[in-house]
């Protein structure tokens, strides 16, 4: 199924966590460089994708997140640094707005456990925590680096993570005291730790220079597994308990930067990615049968299960449907299209 978001280039897509036929898209005019944003609410019907409502914003919309509390509500992160809360019962304008960031807001995420808070992250190098009941942000977490992506752990209400242009995965735990570290509990170099001198030193090991990290996601089944991806085209999985030796798995194949990744809500090893190379790819990190050489710290190699190459421009958003068929998913791209498709169909092709 397909819908044309004419005049607006897609940036983010999400299925409703409440209604299996509802889907939202955040989009921006002129590829998000300048001009308005638009938030779409769609219904998936027997007659195709039907736009129920849309809202125009002053500046581009770069990310969206459905409320986990209220089926009618959704937050959007905007180019002008604002975070807006929309309610489909209220036409035309957002019901709340937070102006906390100095630069483009590139990510928003709702707390999946306590369901009463949400976060945003921005090019201004901060993550902000909000309650929909409060007019100001509750907390600011600094990353000091352009923060392209932030999430809550799906397993804990107090764990917030981010990836940034400085090539690091950060994990914050709000249960720790607000000391000088600002709740930071893990700072993981995605490109790998610096080599240590000693007997295991190998100057020929594959080296990856730091590169901007654009997206990450928490595994929905393995509570310490996070996947990251970005400009160097490699999707990596990390176990945040053991990251001293680097990533646990590498999923390699995208030709250009990876813009968005999402773990499957149905299968613990399955992941969907969207890339500037105009494809969406389905992967397995093969952690059920890891092909790791004993004694080696080299990451295991994941497998590409299939790819969807219908988009004709940069693919910026993907999401899995939480209900119904286990492969249902949606993607949005700069080609002004929302595509709803079944990952199983592209997997069967290979």
């Amino acid at each position: 199924m397909e819908y044309r978001t004419t005049g607006f280039n897609g940036y983010a897509v999400q299925y409703s966590p409440f209604v299996n036929s509802s889907i939202a898209v955040g989009a921006a005019a002129n590829f998000g460089l300048v001009g308005n944003g638009r938030l779409y609410f769609f219904d998936l019907t027997a007659q195709g994708i039907v736009a129920q409502k849309w809202y125009n914003t002053q500046d581009a919309i770069y990310d969206i997140a459905y409320s986990e509390q209220n089926a009618n509500q959704l937050i959007a992160g905007c180019g002008d640094g604002t975070v807006k809360l929309f309610d489909t019962k209220v036409p035309d304008y957002p019901i709340m707005e937070w102006k906390e960031h100095n630069r483009e807001v590139y990510a928003v995420a709702w707390n999946l456990v306590s369901k009463d808070t949400f976060v945003s992250s921005s090019w201004d190098g901060t993550i902000k925590l909000y309650s929909p009941e409060r007019p100001q942000a509750l907390l600011t977490l600094p990353t000091h680096s352009c923060t392209y992506s932030t999430h809550f752990s799906p397993h804990s209400p107090s764990i917030i993570s981010s990836v940034t242009s400085d090539s690091h995965l950060r994990v914050f735990d709000l249960r720790t005291p607000a000391s000088a570290s600002n709740h930071l509990v893990h700072l993981i170099p995605i490109h790998g730790h610096a080599p240590q001198q000693g007997p295991s030193y190998n100057p020929l090991r594959p080296r990856h220079p730091p590169s901007e990290a654009l997206t990450h996601d928490w595994n929905k089944y393995r509570d310490t597994t996070v996947a990251t991806a970005g400009v160097d085209t490699i999707i990596r999985t990390f176990d945040i308990r053991h990251h001293k030796h680097g990533a646990t798995a590498h999923l390699e194949g995208h030709k250009y930067a990876v813009r968005r990744i999402a773990w499957s809500p149905h299968a613990p090893d399955m992941l969907l990615s969207a890339s500037y190379d105009m494809t969406c790819r389905v992967w397995s990190d093969r952690m059920a049968t890891p092909n790791i050489t004993p004694g080696s710290h080299a990451p295991s190699q994941g497998a590409e299960l299939g790819r969807m190459d219908v988009h004709t421009e940069f693919v910026t958003g993907v999401d899995w449907c939480l209900f119904g068929g286990q492969g249902w998913c949606a993607s949005t791209a700069w080609d002004e299209r929302l595509l709803v498709w079944d990952a199983r169909s592209v997997m069967n092709q290979r």
Binding site: F31, L33, A60, R207, S211, E212
Partner: protein, 423 residues
């Protein structure tokens, strides 16, 4: 606030991955106005200490001779040279010599001078110091010169009066070991055989001999005129020297195999006078400025200085320093060893030379293609600059671009630099 340009450059940044080696190379080869470029690079002939034509030339006369040549040949108003950094190890009055020699070589009082000393990397450190000053905006034009007169300045090793905190320290006390001992440590620890070392040394001699015969090194060398005292008659004559003096034509691994061990007291005693660097006199010079400056002054751009770094390691195996410094500097510029066209790795000892090539997985054909310090000699402070001069000449001859220069450093360090030829 909606800054279109910044949003666009953000997206463009996402599309140019610095990840793969070739992309790193493409980025390295880019020419930008604020690049630090080399507009003049040359060296004196290298001659054997105590025997060669430079044996009676003190360090100051050596520096003056080469700096005078730079002033005359570079077609650059000397008053534009704001600072000169002298890489030198053994002279005990470097500070006096550097500034005085600059003035005596015909530079105006406004040209400053300093000394850089990190043992065998001093020449490269001098280049890095000048480049960093230009990058930081402290100066616009500077000269790095590496020079050593091993004939007139003896290397007496670590001083005898070192603190007990050093001599009693498990690692710092390793610095009491002589360089020869560290060579045997490398051979012993990593199982480098005498045969492999002699083979490496023979190749150095053969390559240097070929480079000299074919005239490849002619454009590296500026002939200089010096006074030489005849050792028998005591008569002093002026002589113009044009050629390196350390090369022994016809050297083979077999002939080197007959030389007896230089350090029978330290196992495995694989190091000999034939497979270690020679004691030598010589100097090399590099003139640096920003590309924008070079273009405005109409100076010829020979090459670009891309990066340099240093790494420490245990002093007792200081020879393997390049295996830390080279990967470190390559990571900084996003290159893999396969992207490098020519390596100039100082041959302090064949033991470390063999180890570094093996450990880094280098193509031996690309390492020291004109021979190294075993054949040409190792004037300590000069070597770091000399290797850059040699690498740039070789890149030009081959029509290639990227050189990495590296050396092990006494007291346990390695330094490495990346240069891009723009011939």
């Amino acid at each position: 606030m909606a800054n279109v340009k910044e949003r666009l450059s953000s997206v463009l940044g996402h599309l140019s991955p610095a990840g793969s080696g070739s992309a790193g190379k493409a980025k390295l080869l880019q020419k930008n106005q604020d690049d630090i470029v080399i507009t003049f690079a040359a060296r004196t002939p290298l001659t054997k200490a105590k025997k060669g034509a430079l044996k009676d030339t003190n360090i100051d006369d050596l520096v003056i001779a080469l700096l005078t040549e730079v002033r005359q040949r570079s077609n650059l108003d000397p008053s534009l040279v704001e600072d000169v950094c002298l890489g030198n190890v053994l002279s005990d009055s470097g500070g006096y010599i550097a500034r005085s020699s600059v003035l005596a070589a015909g530079y105006p009082v406004s040209t400053a001078a300093s000394v850089a000393n990190r043992f065998c990397s001093s020449g490269l450190l001098a280049i890095q110091n000048i480049a960093n000053q230009i990058t930081a905006g402290s100066i616009e034009v500077g000269i790095a010169i590496g020079a050593e007169s091993m004939s007139t300045c003896p290397d007496n090793g670590a001083p005898g009066w070192l603190s007990e905190k050093i001599t009693g320290h498990p690692i710092a006390s390793q610095n009491l070991q002589t360089m020869g001992q560290t060579s045997e440590n490398v051979a012993g620890d990593f199982g480098i055989s005498r045969g492999a070392m002699d083979g490496f040394a023979a190749r150095s001699f053969q390559r240097a001999e070929k480079a000299q015969k074919e005239g490849w090194s002619v454009d590296e060398i500026i002939p200089i005129t010096v006074k030489v005292k005849d050792s028998k008659t005591g008569e002093v004559v002026e002589e113009t020297i044009t050629q390196d003096g350390g090369i022994r034509p016809g050297t083979t691994a077999e002939s080197l195999g007959k030389i007896r061990s230089a350090f029978p007291q330290w196992s495995p005693s694989n190091t000999t006078g034939g497979n270690a660097s020679q004691l030598t006199d010589g100097a090399a010079v590099i003139l640096l400025m920003k590309r924008s400056k070079a273009l405005s002054l109409n100076q010829p751009i020979l090459a670009k200085f891309a990066a340099a770094t240093v790494s420490g390691l245990e002093p007792r195996i200081m020879g393997i320093g390049p295996t830390y410094a080279i990967p470190k500097v390559l990571e900084k510029v996003g290159l893999s060893v396969q992207d490098v066209d020519v390596f100039e790795i100082n041959e302090a000892f064949a033991s470390m030379g063999v180890y570094c090539i093996e450990k880094l997985g280098l193509d031996a054909e690309r390492v020291n293609p004109r021979g190294g310090a075993i054949a040409l000699g190792h004037p300590l402070g000069c070597t770091g600059a000399r290797q850059v001069v040699t690498a740039l000449s070789e890149l030009k001859r081959r029509g290639e671009r990227v050189a990495v220069t590296s050396m092990c450093v006494g007291t346990g360090m390695g330094m490495a630099g990346v240069f891009v030829s723009e011939h």
